[in-house]
């Protein structure tokens, strides 16, 4: 009898294997990667009885269609999407039993952008540097899913969580993100921080897992010239030459040469931010 697996019938726009990423390798140029909203993946894993660190799928905008070879339990957490198990509608945010050979359809996101699917036993593709995450920047980890892929699934670690329903978190229409200035706010004019904190920005369609690009009031530099490459953190608000800020997400490079004016405390809301979403910033209490 073959090992349990999930057949990818329709991969959708961008579906990747994600777990909690591969931190601790940045000094070798290896990005952290991992689910853009780790809390959502952890919840999905708990719902199906997995350790929180198990690998699942990160599904973007257009959804995907899957067919497990054996009966299993899945959970979908994240964007507002329609889920169907065969012909029956299923809910997000709770464990769903999927009979072997039955098609599981994750529909397009109605609100928000990304969903995380956990399967009992986890996706067990070969780990790379301790993680099964697809890193879209460096190419480490498995390639993004393609139609016809067969994903190995592990043995269930425990029973699904005994819950009827979880409280869905509706993706907000506008994001208000807390930031802390620095480390290179002194490369900008004082007006730049005022603009960042005082005006609204919009999420650009060029955003991806590497970073959320914003458009809005440009942030003027006080210091010309290049910044020697330096280490980058998750949530760093980097400002390239055009003055339009970019917020680094999970697949961010480990070093960069544009000054970072501020750092966002919690980037996870950006995982659901569609192009056009309004973003404002406010100060963060230490």
């Amino acid at each position: 009898m073959s090992e349990p697996a999930i057949e990818v019938l329709r991969a959708g726009a961008l579906t990747t294997v994600q777990d909690l990423g591969r931190p601790s390798w940045a000094h070798l140029g290896v990005p952290r990667s991992g689910a853009l909203d780790p809390g959502a993946l952890r919840l999905a894993n708990r719902l199906v009885g997995n350790p929180e660190s198990a690998a699942g799928l990160e599904i973007t905008l257009t959804g995907c269609d899957l067919r497990p070879t054996r009966a299993t339990t899945v959970a979908v957490v994240g964007a507002e999407v329609d889920v169907r198990v065969g012909t029956r509608p299923g809910d997000t945010g709770r464990p769903l039993a999927v009979p072997g050979g039955t098609v599981l359809r994750i529909g397009p996101a109605r609100r928000g952008l990304r969903s995380w699917l956990a399967v009992a036993g986890g996706i067990t593709v070969t780990p790379v540097l301790g993680s099964r995450a697809t890193d879209t920047l460096s190419g480490l980890g498995p390639a993004p899913l393609r139609d016809g892929d067969l994903l190995p699934v592990g043995a269930p670690a425990g029973p699904p969580a005994p819950v009827d329903v979880t409280v869905p978190v509706v993706p907000p229409a506008e994001l208000h993100l807390a930031v802390r200035p620095g480390p290179r706010h002194d490369w900008f004019t004082p007006a730049a921080l005022d603009r960042l904190l005082g005006t609204a920005y919009e999420v650009s369609p060029l955003s991806n897992r590497v970073g959320a690009r914003l458009t809005g009031a440009p942030l003027p530099r006080a210091v010309a010239g290049e910044l020697p490459s330096e280490g980058i953190v998750l949530g760093a608000v980097q400002v390239p030459a055009d003055g339009q800020p970019l917020i680094f997400l999970a697949d961010h490079p480990t070093t960069g040469g544009y000054p970072v004016i501020a750092v966002v405390d919690d980037v996870t809301p950006l995982a659901q931010a569609r192009p056009g979403t309004t973003v404002t910033f406010h100060g963060s209490e230490r």
Partner: protein, 243 residues
């Protein structure tokens, strides 16, 4: 050294600011970092672009990198990432940044001579890069002199970045810095040995790139099954010997 807070969980040790600058701003440490409020820009630092080619800065970064890695191994320092770069070291995943900054300010790194334990690696290089004549022109020498210089230089991995396993190698003097190509090549083959600015580097995988190509090596530089996965880790001494 100036210690800059980075978000809620990180610190940036900046070695460029105070290098040879008696009028440099005082370091932001402990409580001064803790009391900084968004919307209140700190007093601007001296607006002198730092110079990564400055040998003193690279040496200081290396000494601190070794010290911080050692302190973390000993349990003196908690940080998920310690990332050296051209003139800075990032500490990410630090539990209490202001307290950690205050403690770091009291440390003195051991001199780099005592920290050369990272070893020396010989990289066999075939010196046939298509940009050798351009490098020779920048250096105002002929191609054989460029090759001789690269062969004889003891490089050191200053830091990694750009791609997994890509090491920025220092060792060439400032005056031999070369510009990048105005238009990067769409594809530079894996193993290409190249120069840009004051650095040498070896492309671990094929990628677009704007560095000047001087040669190639068959050595595998990044292997996820190896420990460590990168052959060129920060602090490693490197010789680009003839293949």
């Amino acid at each position: 050294m100036r210690i800059r807070p980075v978000g809620a969980h990180a610190l940036l040790l900046d070695f460029a600011v105070t290098m040879g600058a008696p009028d440099a701003a005082p370091p932001d440490l402990g409580d001064s970092a803790a009391t900084q409020r968004p919307g209140e820009p700190r007093h601007p630092a001296r607006h002198t672009p730092s110079r990564p080619q400055d040998g003193d800065v690279a040496t200081t970064v290396e000494a601190w990198r070794a010290e911080l890695w050692r302190r973390r191994d000993q349990g003196d320092l908690v940080a998920t990432e310690i990332v050296p770069a051209a003139a800075t070291i990032l500490l990410d995943g630090v539990p209490d940044p202001p307290a950690t900054a205050a403690r770091i300010a009291g440390w003195t790194p051991a001199p780099p001579t005592a920290t050369a334990a990272a070893g020396t690696i010989e990289v066999p290089v075939t010196y046939d890069g298509e940009d050798l004549p351009a490098v020779a022109a920048h250096w105002r020498v002929d191609v054989p002199a460029v090759v001789r210089r690269l062969r004889e230089t003891e490089f050191r991995v200053a830091f990694c970045g750009f791609a997994p396993g890509f090491g920025y190698l220092t060792g060439l003097p400032t005056e031999l810095a070369v510009p990048r190509l105005a238009t990067p090549r769409p594809r530079v083959p894996a193993g290409s040995v190249a120069l840009a600015g004051p650095y040498a580097g070896i492309y671990p995988t094929a990628s677009p790139g704007g560095w000047l190509l001087v040669g190639r090596t068959g050595l595998t530089l990044f292997d996820v099954r190896a420990d460590p996965p990168a052959r060129l880790t920060p602090g490693t001494r490197v010789r680009l010997v003839p293949a």
